[in-house]
Symmetry: C2
Subunit: 341 residues, 2 copies
C-alpha cells in the first residue's frame, strides 16, 4: 500500500485457497523434522521415535463468524475451542495445550470475556486440554484466535493417503450446521422447539470428533482424513487434490437427520444442498480400503456411539469427481463449499 508495493488484485479476487497457495510458494522448504506443513488440518512435527507434535490455529472474527451483540459468550468460547479440537481430531491426534489470542475493543465488557474464557476452558477440559498462554490486544473488532497443540503417535492421518477403490466415510450427520445458520438468519422460520434446538446446537456448539478419531486411528484401517469445515464438496476436493484421485459420492447415502430435513422444508431449501455445500459440520470425512470399512464402523460405534456412513468411493484422478443424485443422474461435484472471501 506504500509506493513500493506493486499494485495488484485484492485477496477477494484470488480467494482463500488461491491466496494460501501463493503465500506457501514464498516459503523455503520446511525443516527436516516437519512431516506435514501448510495444506492439512494441522502441522505435524517429529518429536522423536513414534511421537509427533501437532499444531493448528483458527480464528473467529466478529461480524464474519458471529455477531458480537447476539452471541452467547460461553457458547462462543466452546465453539472456538471445538473448531480447533476438530482439526487435531482430523489428524488422528490428542489435543494438549491452547494458546489464546484475543483482540478486544476497549468497550468490551469484562464479564463477556470471562464467560468466553469459561466456555473455552470447559470445552478444552472435556477433551483433556488446557490453556497455557496467550495474549490480549486492543483491536477495533473482536476476534478470538486460538492455537492448539496436540500429540500423535506413529500414525498421523493426512489428506493425501486416499487411493482408487477406497471407500469414503463420514461420521455423524451433514447439513445440520447450515440448518442452524438458516434458523439464526430467519427467526420467524416455522420449526419445532426440538428441531430448532438440535440444529442450533450443531451450528453453535459442534462436538469435535476426538473419540471417533481415536477409534479410527486405532483400527489402522483409514487411509486419509480431514474434517468437514468448508463443506463436503469443498473438503472432498481438498482430499482429492492432495491424494491425486477422483471420487464418486452417492447423494442418497449422505446422512441428513430429520430435524435438518424439516428445517430445510420450512425454509424452502433442498437439504441435499446443505449436506453437500454447507460448511462447519465438523464431522470426520475419511477413506478406507473396502475390507476395513466394517471394522471402522464398529470401532467408532463402540468408542463413541456415533454412526458412520459410507457415502462414496475413490476413483482414479482421470475419472473425475461426481455426485450421484437420488434419481441416478451423475453431476459434476463442484466446489460449493463455503469460501472465506
Amino acid at each position: 500500500m506504500t509506493s513500493e508495493t506493486p499494485r495488484s488484485e485484492p485477496v477477494s479476487a484470488v480467494g482463500e485457497f488461491g491466496l494460501i497457495e501463493r503465500l506457501a510458494r514464498r516459503l523455503r522448504p520446511p525443516d527436516q523434522d516437519v512431516v506435514v506443513g501448510i495444506g492439512d488440518d494441522a502441522a505435524v512435527v517429529r518429536l522423536g521415535r513414534g511421537r509427533h507434535l501437532l499444531a493448528t490455529c483458527d480464528v473467529q472474527v466478529a461480524g464474519v463468524h458471529f455477531l458480537a451483540n447476539r452471541v452467547d459468550p460461553f457458547a462462543l468460547g466452546r465453539r472456538c475451542a471445538a473448531v480447533n479440537l476438530s482439526d487435531i481430531a482430523a489428524m488422528g491426534g490428542r489435543p494438549t495445550h491452547f494458546l489464546v489470542s484475543l483482540g478486544l475493543p476497549p468497550e468490551t465488557p469484562v464479564a463477556f470475556v470471562e464467560r468466553l474464557y469459561e466456555g473455552l476452558a470447559q470445552e478444552a477440559a472435556r477433551f483433556g486440554a488446557d490453556v497455557v498462554g496467550g495474549n490480549v490486544s486492543r483491536s477495533p473488532v473482536l476476534f478470538i484466535d486460538l492455537t492448539l497443540l496436540g500429540e500423535a503417535g506413529d500414525q498421523v492421518l493426512r489428506r493425501s493417503g486416499a487411493r482408487p477403490g477406497d471407500r469414503v466415510l463420514v461420521t455423524g450427520r451433514l447439513g445440520a450446521s447450515a440448518a442452524g445458520l438458516a434458523v439464526l438468519a430467519q427467526p420467524g422460520l416455522e420449526a419445532s422447539e426440538d428441531d430448532r434446538a438440535r440444529v442450533l446446537e450443531a451450528h453453535l456448539t459442534p462436538t469435535p470428533r476426538l473419540l471417533e478419531a481415536g477409534a479410527i486411528v486405532a483400527t489402522g484401517g483409514a487411509t486419509a482424513m480431514l474434517d468437514v469445515s468448508d463443506g463436503l464438496a469443498q473438503d472432498l476436493g481438498h482430499l482429492c487434490d492432495e491424494s491425486g484421485v477422483g471420487v464418486r459420492v452417492w447423494a442418497g447415502s449422505l446422512p441428513v437427520d430429520e430435524a435438518t430435513r424439516r428445517v430445510a422444508r420450512a425454509a424452502g431449501r433442498d437439504p441435499l444442498e446443505w449436506a453437500v455445500g454447507g460448511g462447519e459440520d465438523y464431522e470426520l470425512l475419511f477413506t478406507a480400503r473396502p475390507e476395513a470399512v466394517e471394522a471402522l464402523i464398529a470401532a467408532v460405534g463402540r468408542a463413541a456411539g456415533t454412526p458412520v456412513s459410507v457415502i462414496g468411493e475413490i476413483l482414479p484422478a482421470e475419472r473425475g469427481r461426481w455426485l450421484v443424485l437420488p434419481d441416478g443422474r451423475e453431476v459434476a461435484l463442484g466446489v460449493r463449499g463455503w469460501s472465506h472471501f
Copy 2:
C-alpha cells in the same frame, strides 16, 4: 452482551494485566507437564528428559500497532516475526516453527500480503525457524497473529528467579524504539538522516536477541529474564512481581544511544523518559549474582558483539522499587510502560 451476560465494566477499565489475571483465575490448574503457564514470555511444556517445548503468540493489529496504508509490508512481516522471536529469546530458547494467522479485509492487495509473508519468512529463516501452518480469514481490520514454537534444554529462564543482591542487566540500548515512534509521529522533526534511520530501524525492525540469549543461558549465571516490550519500568515490575522482590535502578547507567538523545532533544523530550517508559525495545532484561556479571558480559560480547549494561540491583520486596536519578534523588519506579488499553 446477550441478556444473560451480567453488565460489567469494560476491559479498558481493568487494563491488559488486570484482565489477564481475571481470565487466568477461570482456568483449572494446567497439566503436570506444564512447567510455565500464563504469565511469562512463553509457555513451557516438558517434552522429556532435559527437553522443553516453548510456545508464544503475539498479534499486530492495523490502527493499533501500525498504519496499514503507511507501513512497508516487508518490514511489517519482519517486525511481527521479531516480536515473537524475542519472546523465545527471553526464555533462553531456540525458535523452531511459526503458525501464521492472518485477518484480511477483502480489498487487501495480494502483493501486500505476499511481501508481508516474505518479510516474515526471511526474519524466521535468519534465526533458523520456518512457517509450518496457519490460517487466513476475512476480517474488517487487518491483523497478523503469530504463534511461535521453540525448544529449550534443561535451563529455562523465567521471570521469577531474581533474588535480593542480584544485579539487573540489559542488552543493547533503551529508548530508541520510542524515538523511532516520535519520528514517525512528527515527520517534520529536525533529525539527521543517520539518526532518523537508526531510530526508525529500532522501532520498525527490532533485532530479536537470540544470539545474546543463547550466550546468557550457556553461562548458567542468569537468575531471571524477560524482554523489554512494555517498557523498562513495567517489565521490571513484572519481574519484581513474579520474583517477589524490589529493585533499585540507576538512571545514569541506562544505555541510551546518541541518536536517541539527539532525537529527544529535537522533540523537546527527556530521553530518560523514553528509556524508562517507552516500550518495544525488545532488549533482554535479566538478573544475575554479582559474581556472574563479568562472565555474562563477556559471553554476550563474544557471541553477538552486543553491549550489556549493569543498570541496578535487586532488593528485598519490602524495600520497594526505586529509580535513582542522575542527581542522586530516588523516585518511586512507577508503571510508566506501555499499556494495551
